[in-house]
């Protein structure tokens, strides 16, 4: 049986080294590009004939649009619509990455802390910028809320800083853990199909099929949760006092 961790190995497709920095084009980067291109192609194809009464193809991007629109208005409010494009892109990129990772010989970049962590850090940086833009210097109050005695500032400030920094961490871990576990389970059960062959291999084959269906559901659900949590964090930056 092949190693279930093999699927997470990053392979250099185009080795590149600049001043000692390894910026090789990897299978992970390729899958990210495929994911972005897939979204663009699907949307362009579905929206090629735009009509007032949408057809089946037009319904796909419109439903996705309405879904994210509702998500933002429910979690942030109307003022959150300024950041619609960012949240919409984030959701589509992650959901496509999760689903493309289920294809044979593909690579699930959402199972890597580096890839998802970068997105989460980007979300954190945007949150900080939004907070500074809205409240100017008042944003620093996030780390030391009003009404708290000055004497406990040395305790509160590090706690608030850690609290802020742990947000991208928790976002990343949740998605990465779900994707990694699902793929390990899938590969392990698929390995049993090969190992058992025609004598009993049908049972793990059925399980593998069920797990793929479950993974499709998990992939969409985790992208949704990632997006909703990003919205909640953005809402904190906009509304916190």
């Amino acid at each position: 049986m092949s190693n279930p961790m093999e699927q997470f190995e990053i392979k250099r497709l185009l080795p590149l080294d600049i001043n000692g920095y390894d910026i090789s084009f990897t299978n992970s980067a390729l899958c990210m590009i495929i994911s972005a291109v897939t979204v663009i192609v699907v949307f362009a194809f579905c929206l090629r004939k735009r009509t007032l009464v949408p057809g089946v193809a037009q319904c796909i991007p419109e439903s996705a649009y309405e879904f994210i629109y509702r998500l933002i208005t429910e979690n942030i409010g109307k003022e959150g619509l300024k950041y619609f494009s960012f949240i919409f892109t984030l959701f589509l990129f992650i959901v496509t990455g999760n689903l493309l990772g289920l294809f044979p010989y593909s690579f699930t970049f959402t199972s890597h802390i580096a890839a998802v962590g970068s997105l989460s850090i980007l979300a954190l940086v945007i949150n900080i910028f939004v907070g500074i833009k809205n409240k100017k210097w008042g944003y620093l109050r996030t780390f030391f809320p009003k009404g708290i005695p000055l004497a406990i500032a040395p305790l509160i400030i590090p706690i608030e800083i850690i609290s802020l920094l742990s947000k991208p961490f928790s976002l990343t871990i949740r998605l990465v853990a779900n994707m990694t576990v699902g793929h390990i389970m899938l590969k392990s059960i698929a390995g049993f199909v090969v190992a058992l062959g025609l004598l009993g291999g049908e049972i793990p084959l059925i399980f593998a099929g069920l797990i793929i269906a479950f993974e499709i559901f998990i992939g969409i659900l985790q992208a949704y949760i990632y997006t909703i949590l990003s919205c909640i964090y953005l809402s904190d930056a906009i509304h916190s006092h």
Binding site: E74, N75, L155, P158, I159, E160, I162, S163, L165, S166, K167, F169, S170, I173, R174, I225, L229, I232, D236
Partner: protein
């Protein structure tokens, strides 16, 4: 008063039955959804708690490395991180409560 024809009466009964069935199904699915969302909230709360501690400990370890202390920062920031994790959990649950209130 004009009498309602028999076929219209039957159709009305059928519509009422379908409506009742639909309401029951909706009720069951909302209960199921509630269970799943509770599970999701519990999972997220756990992750928030752990991530605060991990980030605090990592920050402390890095500061120890930079300032060449043995474990003072690691110890202090792990405690700070655990508290930050608890604060994050309470904020997250408060947010969920607010959302549930809004939906009601």
């Amino acid at each position: 008063m004009a009498q309602i024809p028999e076929d219209i009466k039957k159709l009305n009964e059928k519509i009422e039955a379908v409506k009742k069935e639909g309401m029951v199904k909706e009720d069951v699915s909302s209960k199921k959804q509630g269970n799943y969302s509770n599970l999701s909230v519990a999972l997220q709360a756990g992750i928030e708690l752990v991530s605060g501690t991990v980030v605090g400990a990592s920050l402390g370890y890095m500061l120890d490395e930079v300032f060449d202390f043995k474990f003072i920062f690691l110890l202090t920031f792990t405690i700070f991180g655990s508290i930050a994790g608890l604060v994050n959990v309470s904020r997250y649950l408060k947010k969920i409560d607010e959302q549930n209130e809004k939906r009601k």
